[in-house]
Each structure stands twice: as C-alpha cells, then as structure tokens.
Symmetry: C3
Subunit: 672 residues, 3 copies
C-alpha cells in the first residue's frame, strides 16, 4: 500500500551504466525499476572513454540521451564526473598518468582509480573534461548531487610524486631540511639528507622493508599525508570547477575505515559524505555500525549510502547471498546510523567485465520476479511511505570515540613490539562494547570539541601532541571521562617518541606511567585480576603500569612475572576521570572496565544480551527508535516504548517485540 500524493524524499536507486547495453533496452530497465519505486540513478561514473574518444574530441550525445531517459522517467540523477577510470588512449599517450608502484614499476593502463594524482597530464585532461560536463549539465533539474571520480584509493611512487612530495615537505617544514633531519631523526642509520632531491618516497626499492614498514617512520607518515592530500587536490580541482557552474552538493564515495586517505581532512572539502558499504559474510553487525558512525562522524552529519549490494559481492573470497530480509535490515541499519539515501551498486547487472557476478537490482535473469527484486520492491514501498522527518532527524550521543588516521598509520607502520597491531580492530573493541549495551557512539576526530560528550575514548591513539593533551586535560578537569589504552600517546606527528616514560604527555591526566610493554605471541592471553577475582583476559600487548595518582582496577595474573603491575587504572583528575587499559581486553574484561566507566559517567546501559541493535534518531518533538535484529534467529525483547507505532508495519506494538530473522521496527515516539 503506497502513501498517496507523497513524494519520496529518500534517494533510492544506485549506479546505472546503460552504456553497457543497447539503447533499445533502456526504457525496459525503468519499467522494471519503477515497480520498486526506484527514484534515482548514479550515472557517468566510468564513461570517459565514451565522452572523449580521442584527445579533445568530445561526444556527449549518449550521455544526453541517458539524461533525457531519466528525466522522462522522473528519476533523480547523481551525476559523476567520469574521472575514476582512464581511457586507454590516454594511458598510452601520456604514460606519466600511470602510477608507479612501490617496487618502481610503471603501470601500463587498465583497472581503475589508478591515475597518478600528481600527473599534470591527468590534471589537465580531467579538468577539461569536468569543465565540459559541469557546464553542459548544470542546467539539468533532476541532478541532486555531483559525484566526483570513484572510491579514491592507493598511492603512487613516481618521480612526479617525488618532486611534488619535496614541495609539500618544504611547505610543511618551513623550507628547512634540517627540520626534517631533526624531526625524523635521520642520523639513524646514516639517513641524513643533504639536498632536497635526496628525499625519495618510501619504497620497497628504497627505504621500506619487505614487510611494508619503513626505516624512517617520519618519512612514511609524511608520504601518507602527502598522498592523501594529493588525491584530495584532485577532488578539490574537480569540485571547484563544478562549483563555478552549479551549487548542488558535491561528494565522492568513500570506503569506511580504509587506510590510505585521511577522511577527516577530506570531509571538510565535501558538501556531503557518501560511502559504499560492503560487509563480508562474517562481518559483525557492530563493525558495520561502526563504519556508518565513522562516515556520519566525518562531518557530524547524515550521509549518503552511495553503494551497497542487493545480495552478493564478487570480489571477496566468499561472496555469499544475503539472507531473506538481510538487505532490508542493512538498509535500515544504515538509516538508523544516519544514512539519508539507500543506493546500490548497481541498478542492472553487467553481462561482462570483472563485476559481472556482483548482484544488482535487475539481475542476469532480467526478471522482477526474483527473490531479491521482491525484497527491493518491498523496501522501495516502505521507503516511499516513511515520513520525511526521519531524514531530518539527528543522532545524539553522550559517548565519542576518536578515530585518527595518523595514529592508524603510525601504529600499524611501526616496527615492534608485535606485528599483530591492528588499529581498526582496536577501535572496534570499544565500539562493540558500547554497541552491545545499546549506547550510541559518535566517531570523532582529534579536533572535535570533546565537551559535547560525557565520555571520550581514544583507543590506540598512537600520535599525540601538546595541544591535544591540553584539551584532554581540560575535558577531564571539567568533569569529562577520558578513556585510552595501550600504544596511545607514544609519539608526536613525526613519530618521535615522547620521552620520560610512557605514555608521554598523557602521564599527567592518567596518573600513571610505564616503562615496558610486553608482546604476547599468537593468541596468548593473560588473566587480569582484582581483589583476587579474575576479571577477564588481556592479549596482544601488556603495559607494565605503575599507577602514580591513579587507582588500579586490575593487575596481571600470577602466571606472568609482572603480576605486581597494573593492567587497568582510573585516575580522578579535577572533576573527571581518566581511564587506561594496558592490554587488549576480552569481552569479560571489557565489560568489567566499562561498568566502572559508565557508573562514573552516570550513564545507563541496556545490559540485556539479546543481539538486537537499538538506535535512536530524533528531532525536536519526535524520536525514531530503530530496533534491528541483525541476525537470522528470532529475537524477543521488551518494548522500551509500549504502545508506540511501528512505521514499517504501521502497527501499534505492545509490551513485547518479536523480531523474525533480520526484522526491523521503527517506533515513532512523540516526545513529551
């Protein structure tokens, strides 16, 4: 049953590549898609070779026809700039466009997202193309967003990049080579630079070991920042051209917690964040939730779910089918965490090319009778009927987790003490613990104002600074609760270790110090105890904590020689508390730790162990409570709002909520 006279405000659709099909079939696609209430299409993502068939000869006729097709069908358009993949004529004519890999090999063209960001040829040709597209289509009313390039990723190590890197360094280091020598401790292993042109990218052929880690981690960090900036410059170049002609929002599709690009820096340049959500068959629901919250956190605003798949991916080792209702569940999970669109890759499944086994709205069967299409149809109808207010509602969290790409790089690229350090897993340990207690999280950068939060958590925050330390101290002093753990606060932004005992500048607010960190091989776990009670296990590393003003919440078990050292601490600092964990906590230990943290924060947790996700979006007068069964088992929970209306079933729900596998409720609660 469809609401009457209503306009659907949520973009529902996805990538559309009609250039892969005969024009005669185009309208029949839309006859099908409109059955599922699809209202948008992302086009022109990979069309450069069609738009510019040889240099400077442009042909927009097909794109014009595609735009007219969509206009005719009343479909909104996300217009891409087509610069995500480079035509072969171009890689052949301008070899400098092809990236050079860390082994020094110039690529020869093919694949995608592999233009050297510092290639002048690429910049010139991309700018020219985008100028023409922006000019030509800025008057198309149906366009809702501009979509620049596609899934920016990867680094280049060519000579062009090396030259630009040196320019970038001159700016960062005041044109003073000695500052670099000092910041990176280049006297180590006789690495002192005498001329700027001695600085090379960190390559396997050069200063990077076969494990991918570099002798000079300062160089490694700088090159990561530089390459992230270089690609961002590509984005900004295109954005600025479009902006000359059009004021509609400009985005590029991001990829969650990927490592290459510092998305917090990117998000400042984007009008709206969009991202592509591709969980594997064994990705925990909390991990996907965390990714959404990270994407929301980039701008602290709702985001576009630019891509997900109706059922299978094609590029993972095992591309399992989504269960019945799982795609719907994932769509509402995205919405619960801030998605304002539900878009897919792709509307019509390719017949050939490496993504041909990636599922799509219209599958190879070309049928609207498939299991998957039926689910898409149901979802489309539901989205059509959902009130616009949801899209405008906000998520309000008392707890924030700091995600910091510099710490990500520094932690994973350092040599020692263990090769098992994994930044995103370190973040997820805390995220999951709160998620399981149904406490919503904001993922924030180091620059975010902490004072909005009751609790700020900084797992594995390897890179620190004086100003950040001051802000943390101020936050705690004024009553905030700060939580951090092993390998936090170790180094400055050049990876110079803070001296005088770990964790460097954080010693003061944490009220502790330690001199040593043990590395636990493989899956070894050590027990954690307090008052002779085992409170859980630690793994990965163990800091040998010496509390100063802090109180010990747990120490290591007697099976290790450092059982007289603390593993968990709490420090009363000013009006607040600073917590520290010196090891990777298992679920039990994390629960113990969090119980204390939540108590001090005065936050209540829903400790029912029911594997049901609960998220609240709200505006001034209404709460939308998403209740999501993230797996295939039936779940029964007490309704936190008995008598409220479920917007999906349009039924009033009494005391108990029974959720079938992957089922969802969206309760509408009028604020009193």
């Amino acid at each position: 049953m469809k609401g009457k006279g209503k306009t659907m405000s949520i973009l529902y659709g996805g990538d559309y590549n009609p250039e892969q099909w005969p024009q005669s079939s185009w309208q029949s696609d839309w006859d099908k898609l409109k059955l599922a209430d699809v209202n948008s299409a992302t086009i022109n993502v990979f069309s450069w070779s069609l738009l510019e068939q040889t240099e400077d000869e442009f042909d927009f006729s097909q794109l014009d026809r595609i735009v007219r097709l969509l206009e005719k069908n009343n479909i909104k358009i996300v217009m891409a700039t087509a610069t995500g993949a480079i035509p072969f004529w171009m890689t052949k004519k301008y070899p400098d466009i092809n990236r050079v890999d860390t082994n020094g090999h110039r690529q020869i063209g093919g694949k995608r997202e592999n233009a050297c960001p510092n290639s002048k040829s690429f910049q010139r040709l991309a700018a020219q193309l985008v100028e023409k597209i922006a000019k030509r289509y800025s008057n198309v009313k149906n366009i809702t967003h501009w979509h620049i390039s596609n899934e920016y990723n990867g680094y280049c190590y060519c000579d062009n990049c090396a030259r630009e890197f040196r320019r970038w360094l001159k700016k960062e280091y005041d044109n003073d080579l000695e500052k670099i020598n000092c910041a990176w401790n280049t006297n180590f292993w006789s690495h002192t630079y005498r001329q700027w042109d001695e600085i090379m990218p960190p390559m396997r052929l050069g200063d990077t070991f076969s494990n991918g880690k570099s002798v000079l981690s300062g160089l490694d960090l700088a090159y990561r920042r530089f390459q992230s900036d270089s690609l961002l410059n590509n984005f900004k170049m295109e954005r600025d051209i479009i902006r000359k002609y059009d004021n509609r929002p400009i985005t590029t599709n991001l990829m969650g917690s990927q490592k290459d690009l510092d998305y917090f820096k990117w998000a400042k340049e984007m009008d709206v964040v969009s991202w592509d959500n591709y969980p594997s068959f064994d990705t925990p629901a909390s991990y996907t939730a965390m990714q959404h919250d990270l994407m929301r956190g980039l701008k602290g605003k709702p985001f576009m779910l630019m891509e997900q798949t109706p059922s299978q991916q094609n590029w993972q080792p095992f591309n399992s089918l989504k269960f019945p209702n799982q795609m719907r569940m994932l769509s509402y999970q995205a919405m619960a965490h801030g998605a304002e669109t539900i878009q897919f890759f792709q509307l019509k499944q390719s017949r050939n090319g490496s993504e041909k086994f990636h599922s799509a709205m219209i599958s190879h069967s070309d049928s609207t009778k498939t299991r998957v299409f039926k689910e898409l149809k149901q979802l489309g109808e539901e989205l059509y009927n959902l009130p616009d207010e949801i899209k405008l509602s906000k998520i309000s969290s008392k707890v924030a987790i700091i995600f910091d790409w510099n710490s990500y790089w520094g932690l994973e690229d350092c040599m020692g003490p263990t090769t098992n350090l994994n930044y995103v897993n370190g973040i997820h340990d805390y995220y999951k613990a709160f998620y399981n207690k149904k406490i919503s999280i904001d993922m924030i950068s180091k620059e975010t104002d902490f004072k909005k939060y009751k609790i700020v958590i900084a797992p594995n925050m390897y890179i620190n600074s004086e100003s950040l330390t001051q802000r943390i101290e101020d936050f705690v002093n004024e009553g905030g609760i700060f939580v951090t753990d092993y390998f936090s606060g170790i180094s400055d932004k050049n990876d110079n270790v803070y001296l005088g005992g770990y964790p460097g500048l954080l010693k003061n607010v944490l009220g502790l110090k330690y001199d040593e960190t043990d590395a636990l091989p493989f899956e070894t776990q050590h027990t954690l105890e307090n008052d002779s009670q085992k409170i859980g296990n630690g793994s990965l590393v163990c800091d040998l904590i010496q509390p100063q003003t802090a109180q010990s919440l747990a120490h290591y078990g007697t099976e290790v020689f450092y059982s007289n050292y603390s593993a968990l601490t709490r420090n009363h600092f000013g009006q607040g508390y600073a917590y520290y964990s010196g090891t990777r906590l298992n679920d039990k230990a994390m629960d113990y730790f969090l119980t204390d943290i939540l108590k001090q924060a005065g936050l209540k947790a829903d400790s029912s162990k029911n594997d049901v996700e609960v998220m609240v979006r709200q505006n001034d007068d209404t709460k939308f409570v998403f209740i999501i069964n993230t797996d295939s088992e039936v779940k029964k929970i007490d309704n936190p709002y008995p008598g409220s209306l479920d917007l999906l079933s349009q039924k009033v729900i009494s005391k108990q909520i029974v959720l079938q596998g992957y089922d969802v409720r969206i309760l509408r609660i009028q604020k009193s």
Copy 2:
C-alpha cells in the same frame, strides 16, 4: 622366462642424455639396460647448445655417435628436435627470445621451455636447426617417432606477443574493433578501445589484479587462446619441416590437465599423443586414471606414456619413493587406459643439474642390483611377453565426460562468487564416481559426437554456445542422458553471460532455471534431502534451482534459507533425460545422483567397494581385462571371468582373485 623369437612391440625405455657422460661409459649403459629389455631411447631433447655452438656453426658428430650407439644395440629411437631449451649464446645475442613475464620483466636466459613463441629470432633459428636434424636423420631406420621440443607450457607478455595478439584478434573479430568492444563489454570501467594498439596483454602491470584475474575476462580468454595457438604454431612449424623429410609419427610430450594449452586443438596437429605422468605421493588412483583417459581422449586413440619415473620425482614438495610394485602397477594402469608405450624419464640419472635427484633406470649407484632396477627388469620381461594384440585393442565406453579448456579458463579466471572454483577437481568428482563403479569413461571435447554415448557429462561447463546447446538438445531428445552442474552454461566464448536466468541456453533441456548461486565459505557443507531423507551434502556453491519441467531429486536442508529450492534435478526431454546438480556433491550425494542416472541409462555398475580398478581393452575377438590393485593393501575380489588366463602370471585364475599390494592381473577373454 622370455618368449622366444618374439619382437617386443611396446616401446620400453625413455629419455637418454649420454651427452652428460663421457663417451667411454656409453656402452656400459646399454649392457645394463638391455638386461631389463629396454628397447628404446628418447634422445636429443636438450642438445641445442651442443649441436649449434655458435650461430650457424653446427656439429652433429656427437649426435651421430649416439645414434650409431643405439643402432648398434638395436635400440629404437624417439628423436627430439632439441628446441625445448635455448643456448645461452642465443638468449644473449637475441634478447627478444627471452619471455617477458606478467610483471613486464624480460627474462635473461636459463631454465627451459621459455622461448617467446612469437620471437622471429627463435622461429628462424629453431626452423634452421630442425631442418638440419630432419634432413640428416630421416634416413635412420631405428627412429620410430619424432619428439618436438619438450613439455610446451607458459605464456609470454612481450611487445612482440602484443603485436601478434592484435593480428590474431583482427582475424578472430573480422578486423573490427567494435566487435571486440561489444564482445568484451569494454564500456565497463571505461575500457573502450579506440585503436588496435591500445590492446595490451592482460598483465599484472595492466588489467590483471594481483589475484591473477583480469578486469576484461574476454581479453583474458582471448589471450589464453592466442598463446596456446602461438606455441602450437611453433609445434606446427617444426612438424611441417620434419614432414618434408620423414613420414614417421610426430608428437610432443603433453602434461595431462595442465591449464595453459588447449590440448584438443593441439591433438589435431599431432600424429600421436604422448604425455608425462607424474603423480604425487597423495594423488588418487582415479585422478591418474582420468589423466590417462584425457590424453587418450584428445585423439580418441592410444597414446604414448612418454615419461614416468621409476621411483622418485625431484621437484615436488615431498618426493616419496614408489612402493614395491607401484611403478609396475602405474605402468599397467597406463596401458589399461590406452598407453602403447611405457617410457621413463630417464634412462640414466644425472650427476648434476636440478634433476639429479629424479630417479632413473640406472641410478647414481650405477647398479643393476637395486630394488628399482629389479622391478624394471621384471616389467621389461613381462612387456616382452605380452601379446601384440593388447597394443591394438581399444577401449569402449558408454559414458563420456566433456573436458573443455575454455571452460577451465573461464571458470577459474572469473571474479566471484568464490575463489575456490577448481575446474579439474570438478571434472574429477564425476570421473571418480564412475571409476569407483568400474564404468569406463571417455574424456571428450565439446566437438565430439555425443551419439556414441549413453551418458554425456559436462561438469562446470562454463562456456556454452548456441550450436553446442542444439547438439545437447538433439542428443537428449534422441534418448541420450546429459548431466551437468553448477557454473555450466553461464557464458559465451567471450564470457558474456547468457541472460534471462541461469543456466542460460541450457534452461530448456534441463527444464529448470535459477537466479542465484550461494558461495559457501571454507569447508562449509549443506545437507541435501529428498522425501525427508538426507541424501548427502553439497559444498562450494549452491544454485537456488527452480525446476520448471524438471523433477526435483533433492532440495537443500532446512539449515539454509533456501531449503525450498532444488539442488538436484532430472528432466525428461524427448526420449532422454537431462540431469543437473546445483552444488558440489560429496560421495554419498554423488552416489545417490549416479544411481538414478545409471538406472535411466540402463547401465550396470559394479558397486563392490574394493578399491580395485577394472578396465577392459578389446578387439574383435578378445577382451583384455585389467584388474589393478591401486594401493598397498591386499584385495580379494570375485573373478568376473572365472577360468580365464592371466597374461602376466600365465596362470588360469579361478573364482577369486587375490591381489597383493599394487598387484595386477591381465585376463585374456575370448569373445564368444
């Protein structure tokens, strides 16, 4: 006891490299080898650097002496052309002869079988050498076969190959670049070609991912066909030169189910198929049997067992000794499946070089008293006494399995839904099931006339065509039984997926369709059920089959959400039946499936579970029944032909046959 006045018709011998030894030792080799009734030697395989010591300076004196040695000892000669390994002076003088790998690295000489097939230098120099050899030795009476190059394998990615590839493509695609753009769906990821020279081989540096799979699978398939053809052209060039001088059969030694070369295409150009059988310590007997049948199937004729090892290989991870009688068993297994020669690598074990630990007839001990030599001696005597009729006898099968290199490539090189697809294992699943029931199999190409068979099985037949579909439908319509399974019929020869529901054009004959294929991670298995009975397990992938006219023989168990879909079906089509399995069957499920298939085919199976292989070769009036114990345990079976003569022991065998470990009987049965 040796038969009197008889000439041994079976070639028994192998590779002989006297150039690695002082001439003074040559005759003593033959004094030993003749004790084992060795009657043939394969020579000149790797002698180019001796025959042509610098360009255009030829010296055949040593080869002349080797030929005279063999003539003097009355030894038959398989004469090789010496082009399988390139002299260093040549790789140095003509660098274009060295292959370029997928990372773009030009090799520098060394190893073997690595000439670029499209190098004009190589072609010219090889042609010149072969001309001289053919001319010089065509009058040698003892030559029985010509042996071109050695174990052709591998691809080259050099610029020469790229140029030839474009010529090859022009021919295949009517000189029309747009046909390629269309066939390969190059609008995907902006891969549209505008000029022929934009087409590059699928390389890691270019359009191939680090997992070895290419963005454009049409390009990947075409390059595989092209490289297979390029090497075949090398073979044909040498063959045609020899043919000018000599009419004796010409072969090259193949390597079973290797992936690189389309042997069905090759076999058409070969006078006789020969191959090298190197099972590992853990290769199932059925797998080796399948390889023999594939080699027999290439031409539908007996083949030469050109190489096997008396005991150990040297290049596998674990090169175990062969058990007592295992070498003899493997020799008769080869003969049972069509081998007309029993040849070894090699007659005398090298002292140095990477194969020095590969066993040989004359080992490092230089003794005829070794365990292995004694077994070779016994085998030689037995072969000497076997009647010639065996060599002329044929194998007659009611069941055929299609082996198709294009499907092999397409299946394993596609992206998704799982990385575990393995074409040869898929073939072996069916082969093994029939083998265990003692039903002999012909391995055939797609082009073979199906009507000779009662049952035709096409496992994992990924690549299909309209004409093939028609032939399958005709076959079934006229009473044949066709069996196929998951990932069959998906694409055309350019890997364009057939639309309208899987399995494309095969929907009609199979009477089913499916829209989805689940990928099962790791070792996951799902139960298969019929009438509430568990009939076995499926793994790898699960097609969600919707029978149309077909009857379901099994559906998935209730532990999966698709338990209402079929897993196994049978379709009555015309006079015959078409069967389909949507998943990889375990032994129990395969047995269930086959029981029905055999029943409909009216074929009887020997369901005794005794791990004894039974193969029948026959001519007009006689059957030779090979009864082979393929492992080390004693086996007792009922004699299918009580009172028949065992040609090996020359004893009449009564009701029961007791086989010691690896023992063999060859029963001679007079047809009535």
Copy 3:
C-alpha cells in the same frame, strides 16, 4: 658491593649513537651508565652521512667530541668505520653502489648493509673514509677494538658483480670454461657455456626457480662463495687500511648461523670474532648455546658478544620482554661458552627510526629506576667483581660438530627429495642431544684437526671431498668416533653426486651403502626398531641402508615397506667406530643412538633431566663451572662440587644447588 681498586677487564657496554641526541644531553647519559659500571661504547657505526656530508668534504668535529666525551668518562671505545650504511648523496651520485636484487631491480638507497661489494665507487669512497678515520683516531688510547662496517649480509646481482664473478671463476677454474661445463654438468638442459660472458648470476630472472633454487647448483654454490668472498674483500680492504695505522684488534659483528657468508673463511681474516645474539621468545636455550659455540669455534677462541638487547627486540613478529634475570642469564650463558665481552645494542634507545622500540640500557623513560636498568646495574657490579682469570680460561671439549657453509648451501638449495631440509636444524638435533647430557661441544670446520676429539659429528654434511674422506678414515682408523647422517657425503664441491651408491666416498668408513632415500611428507614419522623393541621415531627422510661391514643398530618399523633396511648403523673401522643415521631422529631415538656412541667413546653423560645447563671453563689451575637455569622454573640439582665457592653470590655452596628462574652459579674449583 664493589671490589676495591680493581679494573674491570670485561667490556661492558654497547652501541652508542649520541649523534641522534643533542650534545647537551651527552654527559647525563654517562652519569647514568656509570651507575651500571658500563665501561665501553661502540661508536661511529652509522655516521658516514655526518662525517662526509658531500663528496670529499669531511667533518670529524662531532666524532672528536664524542671521543673526548668517552675519554673524559674513562670509557673504552670500540671504534666502527661507519661504512655499514651509505649516505643518500652517495646512492644518488653513484647508482652502481646500490645493489640489484635477484629480480634485476636496482635499489634506490635507504636501509643499510646494502652496498654492492663489487662497486668500484663504493670501494673507493669507503677506503678513503676509513683511511681518514684510522689515521685520525689511531692515537686514541681508549680504543680497544676496531669494528668494520656492520652485520655484513646479503648478495648483489648487478652487472659489476657478474663481471667480477667471471674473473673469480677464471681463477677458480684455471681460466678454462670447459672445466666449468664439466664441473657443473652444463650439458643438462642445454646450459653449455661458449663464452665467459654467457655466465650470469643465478637470478629469478634467469636460472633460478621461484622457490629460489637454481637449475645449475654448481653455479649457485659458486655464486654464494663468490659473494661471500666479495664482502670479505670489503672487510679485508678496510682491515688493511686500519692495520697501516693501528695494531689493535679488528673485528666485524657476525650473526651466528646465518646462511649468506662462510664465516670460517671470514674468521681467518679477523683478529677476534664478535657477534650479535638475538634469540626469539621461543628459541631453545640449546640453540643459543650452539650459536655461541659456533662463534667460538670460528677461530677456536673466545669471542666478543658485540650485541644483545637488554630486553626487547623490535624486528621479530613478537618481541616479548625478557623475564627477570633472563638478560643476566643470557649474559652468563654467553660467557660460559666463551664470550669475553658483554655488550648491548644499544646504550640509549632511539627516539625515532625503525629501531625505536628496540630496548636499550637507557630507555625512553630516561630513568635508572626501571626494572631493566636495575638488572643491568646488578650485572655490571657482578662483572666488575669477577676475577680476570675467567676471561682467560678455556673450554675443552671431547666432542666436535662440523659446521660447513658449503654443505648448508648445497643441502638447502638442492631440488629434492623434500623441501623441508634445514641444515641448522640438522646440526642442532645433535648439538641439543649432547647439550642435554651436559657434554660440551666444539663447533668446527671441515679443516679442523679431528684428532683433538674423541667424537666428531658431521650432520647433513652434503659436500664431501677425497681429502676430507681420507682425514675421516684416518681419524676413525686411529680410534676416533665419527658420526654422520642422511644427506651427508652426497656431492663434491660443485654438487656433482658421487656415484656408485650413497653416501659416496663415505661408504668405506661407514661400512654401508644405500640406493634410495624416501621423503616423508609433512610431519610423518616412522618407527625405528631393534630386536623387536621400538627405539624411537624417524622423520623427514629415510635412507634405505644396506649395511656392508657395519652392524645395524635399528631398522624401520613394519609399517613401511623398507622395514628390512637399516636406519642406524655402527661400523668398527680400524681402532674406531663410524656411526650413521639414515633419518632424522626424535629425542628418544637420538638418546638410544647417543648412548651407544658415548659408550664406545668412553664418555660419561649427565643424564639427569633437569634442563639446567652446565659449562666448564678452565685454565691450568682453576675450573669455572657455570650452572645455568635457562628457564623460569625453580630447579634443584646436586652440586657436582660440594663446598665450592659461587663467584656471583660469594657463597660456599653445599650439596644441593637451588636455582631460581634464570639464576646462575659460577663455581670456582681449584684443580688438584
């Protein structure tokens, strides 16, 4: 309590890199280090970029200041030559200095120890630098040793090296290419050389397979010898320059049983052996002991422990903390095996660079109150008080194990029969067995005079010669006991297999032969039996031994077909015995084997199973008995010398010795 008026004779200190720190902090380092009785510093290891900032512009002012600092603090100096890492200006200006890897890639600078040893540029620039250093600092009294370069390792495959390799070969093979063709059996696979410049290094691009093994193992062995010699030439060049100015001992720090360099050849050129001991968290104590004995054995003299770490490494997968007292234990273990210095990497932990998480005497905490510093302080005080006689005492062994780099290379680089061959593990099997029986071992080269020993063991001695065979026979003939095992005696120095049955020339002394060696897959074990008793297990490979004059001590179990062959033998030869094991023995079988060997040798073993290491150093009148608990459990043993003085606790020890985890006693026994 510190001894009075005493000068500490043992160097206690380590690598010192003050150039990484502001000069203002230097003296405070020594204020700390002297608390721990540190008396030496190794300096100038990686300072080239500071000493020569552009070509030919030298600045020794900072090194002068460092020397003065150390003089002022009365610290002894190990002066390095700074050639272990190359300045960037140099790798840029002289690209030929950068090594080319086995894939043909020229490196671009960075890391360390990667100069091409045959680069004339490197040789010239290094010579010039060392000349200046030697000249300038030869008058510094505090220098005790010269330390050339650092941890020489790795090979280069550049054209320079190829040219020098050919010169090296001409010398080795009498300028006769035919000798090489013959020695390497180059007629194999048409590898015959016609011109010297056809000989290329064994590279992945050329004659080396992807598993790293080469077609011509003669080439492989020669290249290894050549590269080892090339780096040794670099060492000798620097040594000879220093010697012109200074007569104090010259060394370079070695790395135990590394594979690249033939240290027995190196040691002849070194005044004193020094090495760097970095056991992993799971390295057996016996393995470390073996490494020390190998380093002692290189010259048959005490050695310097040039580097160890106070606690953690940074470059292993898991860099665990050392347990309390473990560093002290490892220090005394080194001393027990012949160390005359106890030195560390490094005195002060780096703030940045890839080794920043490698522990040091002064840690990032900059404190002398840490657990680790306290242990260092205790150790320093103990070392200060130890009598000088220990340093001068010697180790006297009745048992020797031959370690042979040529066999190491030949064994691990051969193709077949199994990929699991591991030379050092093969050596350790025997070492461990004696170690556990508290029988000390000398690690010797093939050239050592065997007659000093009662037992000589040659595990996996793949490469043999006529002269060595004669010396072995003489040794046994005169009453010695020779023990060897599988894969020994197979080949000559060019890897030509000795013919006529394995183990070639050793057949005579061993009184056995065998024709076959089985390879056991994965972890398979076969039982070994004697007189129907199971005496243990064999694994890896099984030689099928046919005793001739030898007596069988065990045969294979009946689960294998070769149970009638021997696995273990003893041959009475002249006045002595030659033992052979045809398989890798497990502990039980090794114990059985050794019991017989020791009985015939008339050696007593301490068979108490207490995991306590016992080593004796002695001089004419005194024995120093080191009793070392190598793990963390308390151990109780009977005191072999009741009433003796423990030099560490200065207590007299009665009948029982109770050792806490990692505790050590050094008993001083006056010889009667």
